[in-house]
Symmetry: C2
Subunit: 592 residues, 2 copies
């Protein structure tokens, strides 16, 4: 069975050596000294590796079962959920007013990675609750906040997001679920929603569904969509869960992975709902959840890759097979360990260099969320808004590929469920799909975010890269291996943006045919930037006489690998983008 | 539930427009007129789409069950197997002397693709039999051939390959299974073999296991391995199955996919076995099976991609979601079909251009097998030997990626087992692993095949590309879109080979660190060559006044896509290769 060890040390490196969080003027950051964050990360590491990780295979094997309207979660999930709740892990970055611990988002993100690595299906129960609570926090009335948030922050009640219907996922304007106004100000919600993660279960005493629906007589399409709070148990006047609402789970889907999470068909049959935010402005409110959820899903890509990688390394060191081509390395054994072989190294270095780069990218992104929320920093808000589809799309695509590579290290055993490597791949697969399939992320990036605010945010990104290169121009240790490749990759990204500007106006297909490649090109440049910055930070630590030289030297060596071996993908993506829409759109639909 | 329609027309294009098989002087090819091959392909298309494809999901859902030593295959498999046998489909390219139809390997390959697309797990029962029969054909005594081949050719008896043991897969020198000589010339085989596909089942009246084992006292390591025939039921003097042999299935593995195939742990307990070929020359005999099996596995990559693609296209045309960015295309519907969107097009074109290129590559490879077997053509034999790891590794990696892309077209429904897209991905995953994991293919390619016979075969490949470009130099229709990109890609491949020559001698790690990229680079050049040749063939057909202009024009347009969008990957692979081993091998094992 796979194991999981929280990468505390690497997170500390990113938080303190790279982002230097405790020196930041973001409110709440000054208390994030290395000792303090270490204590949190160590504790989170303990519960995730000792309690959640051992339940990962259990969740996959048992799945969730619907019997007589009741959903049974896998053995041990309830106890673990109680433990997570008792430890206050669900409330880390929620406001203290509602029982949270008020820590910055960056800490929630670091801890969140551990939870997702250890047990993605389990973590979704609290993750969706977090998203739903955030939407109520942002758009709810004071009464709604008071009624729902304390219980949701503690995860005594969980939450869900209800968007998709059988005939519409991405195109929510086609939605049929309706919300009929009642005399008392509430609504009667009727319709069917599908793919509702954590839609029904017994681990919490209430489930607060956030449901998109149309109020009859409202505008057509997406502009007529409103958001509603629909509790599983309608609250009594004293705030306790009361009568069962008209919402039920019709079916649990059989999925490729995340079996431990109950993915439900939810039937709303004149269920009582309460408008959240303004009527017909439901998409705006939902986007509060979705943007956060997209970052969280990007993190899942990284998190599954990390978990799979750890086990691939263990296997590569244990399994004796063949001899090193440069001479026997394990003369006392019948063969050398897999890890001596160059192609196994390539495989593992792909994973390691992706994971550490992605972790830095993710935590940098989380820091921008804090700048946006805690300092009302418009520049940070604009930049993270631009980068959100990159984090979601690039990290989940690459994260998935890395789980496939990790599985490959195991040879035939990687295909056998008993070894647990298949689960990482199967679980990671969903992250490329939900919260907006990655093609939709690419569309969001190129069709919306790139030109937002006159293209100001992407220009800011280029400035940032340019300034980093310029500021370190005299740094010979960085120049050849880091700055030059970064400059080349960034030039490819700029050229791609230029191609879109020059050709997308004439025919938007020229831009959209290259959107997916652009998302990946952008992701590589971001990771290249992270690696250049991390190499600098590691060099500075070494120069300052850090005792753990091997950690910092490994960091620099891993960065060199990324720059030499992964970053050259940018030229390929640019070539594809520059070929335009003609070959993409050439065929009549009938000729596919 | 997914459907499957055999791509008969495209196969006919490859066989007749591209390869012009009936004009070849390979013995047996002159009878392969278009009418004749069409008749075979139409019939194969019928049984695969009507009988095997509907059982694909059944096999995945039910899997195989071991009860009291008996393996139960999924509902309908036995009846379908009988039907396949009765139709003579198992014997298409086996010699007439043993009851086969004596058709060339190229026809077996075309039909084999259909079988694998329709139901990979099912097809493996006959596929492994074919491999085992080939080994007996090549290395068996006349008595052995007479005793086993007629029944195996008809699949009245099935066959297996037993290589892997729990502690060794790639490194078979570590093998522990032993074969003790008996006075009557037979051997007693004892040991445990794992991952034995079709190892035990009731669909055939006997199972002929080919088992690698060591005769005590023989040479150490791989040089002490011999190959044995171990029938499930020992033959009576009259050749009928008699006493149960000491071989049994200890367990059926729970796998990520190909659930319909029984993957067994096989226990040999003093089982009676008969030496096949020479003692201690077992690996040589086994390679007869493995080379054929590797081509067959490469084909599975293509075949799963084809099946997944067909369903992705259906969904992309059916599912209404969003509006075309260039203007509404389905004004009477609530939304436009997915296929209007450029990124969906990109996704589908990736698949289509891979599949058709891979099909041509596969069938060209099969033609070389025929040249080798039927004409003793050493050049063809050398070239297909070089290309075998490329076909296996590149086609299965890319084929898998394409099933993932096809799944992506379905959005959330792609993750739900009910829709069947997950199965294509899960089934395709194994092809990257078995018959030599793809890293081992890359090692075989770079460490062995490239330099074989003084590098003569790779030089021949380059000559072939160069001559094609030169011979068509005046063809302006081809030049810009096909010949120039092919030339550039081929130059990348040559540069990579040069890098290996110049650096691999000093340190083999410089070559082996780039082996995986080289395999993909090579694969792209092969598909680029196929597309250039197909574009030429299609142009000629149009010039000759072919009636189905839309088919040929689509072929050319699809080729343009590959050259513009897929082939640029070669430069990335070259850049990675040229970065050498330093970043790959930099870390101490402890620092992973």
């Amino acid at each position: 069975m796979p194991s999981y060890t929280a990468p505390t040390k690497d997170m500390q490196f990113v938080l303190h050596d790279l982002l230097k969080i405790s020196q930041s003027d973001i409110p709440g950051y000054s208390e994030l000294e290395a000792d303090f964050t270490a204590a949190i990360l160590e504790e989170a590491g303990k519960i995730t590796s000792e309690v959640l990780a051992p339940l990962n295979v259990v969740g996959d094997t048992e799945g969730c079962v619907l019997e007589n309207g009741v959903v049974r979660t896998p053995t041990g999930f309830q106890e673990a959920f109680d433990q997570v709740r008792d430890g206050g892990w669900t409330a880390l970055d929620m406001p203290e007013d509602f029982g949270g611990q008020g820590l910055p988002y960056v800490m929630g993100t670091a801890v969140g990675e551990m939870f997702s690595s250890a047990n993605q299906a389990f973590t979704m129960y609290q993750g969706l609750t977090h998203g739903a609570a955030s939407a109520i926090l942002a758009h709810g009335s004071d009464d709604q906040k008071a009624a729902y948030l304390p219980k949701m922050v503690s995860c005594e009640w969980t939450g869900t997001m209800n968007l998709t219907e059988p005939h519409c996922g991405t195109d929510l304007g086609l939605m049929r679920t309706k919300a009929v106004p009642q005399d008392d100000g509430s609504y009667k919600i009727s319709g069917q929603k599908i793919f509702i993660s954590a839609g029904e279960h017994e681990m919490s005493s209430n489930i607060i569904h956030l449901v998109l629906a149309k109020i009859p007589g409202g505008p057509d399409g997406i502009k007529g969509v409103s958001l509603f709070i629909v509790p599983k148990f309608i609250l009594n006047d004293d705030g306790t869960p009361g009568a069962r609402n008209g919402v039920s789970c019709g079916k649990i889907e059989e999925k490729m992975g995340i079996h431990g999470n109950s993915t439900c068909v939810m039937n709303y049959d004149e269920a009582t709902g309460y408008l959240l935010g303004e009527a017909h402005k439901g998409m705006r409110a939902m986007f509060t959840m979705m943007n956060e959820a997209r970052l969280g899903v990007g993190m899942q890509g990284l998190a599954q890759a990390e978990a799979a990688y750890q086990n691939a390394v263990i296997y590569a060191k244990d399994r004796l097979q063949g001899r090193a081509v440069t001479g026997v390395e394990n003369p006392d054994g019948p063969a050398d360990p897999l890890i001596v072989h160059p192609d196994i190294r390539r495989n593992l270095m792909d994973q390691k260099s992706f994971i550490e780069g992605a972790r830095a990218f993710m935590l940098w992104g989380a820091m921008m969320i804090d700048q946006s929320h805690r300092q009302n920093d418009k520049a940070a808000d604009g930049l993270i808004s631009l980068l959100t589809p990159v984090i979601k799309g690039f990290l989940t695509d690459q994260g998935y590929d890395m789980t496939v590579q990790a599985q490959q290290v195991y040879g035939g055993h990687g295909y056998i469920e008993e070894w647990g490597m298949s689960q990482f791949t199967r679980d990671a697969r969903i992250a490329m799909i939900y919260e907006g399939a990655n093609g939709v992320q690419a569309l969001d990036l190129v069709g919306r975010k790139l030109a937002a605010d006159g293209g100001k945010h992407v220009m800011a990104f280029f400035e940032l890269v340019k300034n980093f290169i310029k500021d370190n121009d005299g740094n010979e240790a960085l120049k050849q291996d880091f700055l030059n490749p970064l400059k080349a990759a960034s030039k490819d990204l700029q050229a791609a943006g230029m191609y879109f500007m020059q050709n997308g106006m004439k025919n938007p297909n020229h831009a959209l045919s290259g959107s997916y490649d652009f998302m990946h090109l952008f992701g590589h440049v971001c990771l290249g930037l992270m690696w250049a910055q991390m190499a600098k930070a590691a060099t500075e630590a070494l120069d300052a006489g850090a005792s753990d030289t091997s950690f910092y030297e490994t960091k620099i060596a891993t960065g060199r690998y990324y720059m030499a071996r992964r970053l050259p993908a940018t030229a390929m993506h640019l070539a594809r983008i520059n070929s335009g829409a003609d070959t993409v759109m050439a065929l009549d639909a009938a000729n596919f």
